[in-house]
């Protein structure tokens, strides 16, 4: 445990924390907007669309960086089920970060809504108008959002468990600042 652990690269840490803020905002905006009919509804929808596309772009960059830079190894004494859970959750996170914006975009396309980002800036439709497809995509976008948030809570709990209980250096690999001073 005394061995200084390798950390994620600066770019990886920057992407992680930037996207953490974006994705949490996105999930809160998502459940918030569908539960109100005040003028806030339109403001939230207008943020939701471009922010979703921003997350898609960031996720693709991040996937490339991850494939290039790799990740620090987990502690060798971490029980196998926890290692498996850690790896599996990362695959699911990457899948959700890429799939959720695409589902939203496809869902709007299948309902023939224009996908407006800013002013006259809009995305092309990626699917024809189709009620069956719209329903399928809408359900996927809706339910996966809750899966995403649940997974984030689990991830948060695991990160804090590493930081506060196990104190095994895993948290420090992704900490925004060096943990040495904290120790």
């Amino acid at each position: 445990m005394t061995v200084a652990r390798q950390r994620f690269t600066v770019l990886q840490r920057a992407l992680h924390w930037l996207m953490a803020v974006c994705i949490l905002a996105m999930l809160f905006i998502g459940v918030g907007m569908v539960s109100t009919l005040t003028p806030k509804y339109l403001t939230l929808v207008q943020i939701h669309k471009p922010l979703g596309i921003a997350i898609l772009v960031l996720a693709l960059i991040r996937l490339g960086v991850r494939l290039r830079d790799g990740a620090p190894a987990l502690p060798s004494d971490l029980p196998e089920p926890m290692k498996l859970a850690a790896h599996l959750s990362h695959y699911i996170f990457y899948a959700l970060m890429i799939v959720m914006p695409l589902l939203g975009w496809a869902m709007l396309s299948a309902a023939s809504y224009p996908v407006v980002l800013f002013g006259s800036w809009h995305l092309p439709s990626i699917l024809p108008l189709n009620d069956g497809l719209h329903t399928l995509l809408w359900n996927a976008h809706h339910y996966l959002a809750f899966v995403f948030f649940a997974l984030i809570l689990l991830h948060l709990a695991a990160a804090l468990f590493h930081a506060l209980v196990r104190r095994d250096g895993v948290f420090a690999t992704m900490a925004p600042i060096s943990m040495r001073k904290v120790k």
Binding site: L27, F28, V31, G32, M33, V34, S35, T36, L37, T38, P39, K40, Y41, L42, V45, A111, S112, Y113, P114, G119, S120, H122, P124, L129, N130, D131, G132, H134, T135, W138, F149, L153, L156, A157, L160, F161, L164, V165
Partner: protein, 352 residues
Amino acid sequence: MPQSILSEMRAKIGSLIVIAVIVGASAAAFAYTAGWLTPGRLTPVKVVDALAPPGGPALGHRRNHAKGICFTGAFQSNGAGASLSTATAFAAGHYPVIGRFNLAIASPDAADVTARVRGMGLQIATPNGQVWRSAMITAPIFPVSTPQDFYDLLRASGSKDPNAMKTFVAANPEFGNFVQWATTAPWTSSYAEDRFNSLDSFIFVDGSGQHQVVRWSLIPIASLVPISPGDLAKRGPNYLESEIADRVGKAPQSWTLAVTVANAGDQTDDPSKAWPADRRTIAVGTLVVQQVEPEANGPCRDINFDPTVLPAGMMTSNDPFPAARSAAYAVSYDRRTAEAADYPRTATGGTP
């Protein structure tokens, strides 16, 4: 030794409590944002549920304005609107239109005469991909001032309490103006003779970035031939749809799109308040309805005529209704498209 193990255990339990509190607080914040902890919040789902008739909603159909018929045609812009808004639909030219004539009732099978208010959904698309959608009605003013009042009206009119409407009217005096219109304005026997009004105000942005608050109306070219509700009822429960199909089959039907500009100080946030009649009004073009098609297979069926789908050069104003309508229309759309099996498409289109 045991003491140090004990204190280490205490520290671990303390840490686990900290983790549980942080995760629990995050989940609670999420639940609050979703409205799960505030059952009193007026949600789009509540409004859409309140629209349902006592026997439940007509599955596969719009939750309000459920009875309707599709049309296609063109918006012939005369270029005059360009002084008000940079929207490409106002550049002189012809733009394709998809629309829907409808009755403001929750049942697609109701007789025409049971709907005092009629509506038109309209989409104007321009070649650069900009889309302008609008949903207008024949009433010149909306019955109530706010979305909450509208919900209260739905609750009161659906209530078994005989005093519910009385209480509502007492609390919402503006409702009297709507009743005045509903009881005195002439009925027509054709959608082609009806005037359709945006009611809600919107902001038009011109080339220099100036904002103007506007409302708009489609004024029929066909002259109005009044009919009594009794005589309309005698023509049959679905007369309006067959009449407009026949009429458009013989000759395209037209409406002038007239944009009215508010003066400073006009009430722009309340569609139950008419603006004075002398406000500047500009005819910006003509809607020409060229073909009418049944809804089941028609091009309007799966279009959500959400009034906040606006092209660049137009924005929502301080009127609270377009946002509320957008939120509620989305719920109605998501539900009815998921129920498509309950409203089957027919094998061939054809005219009704």
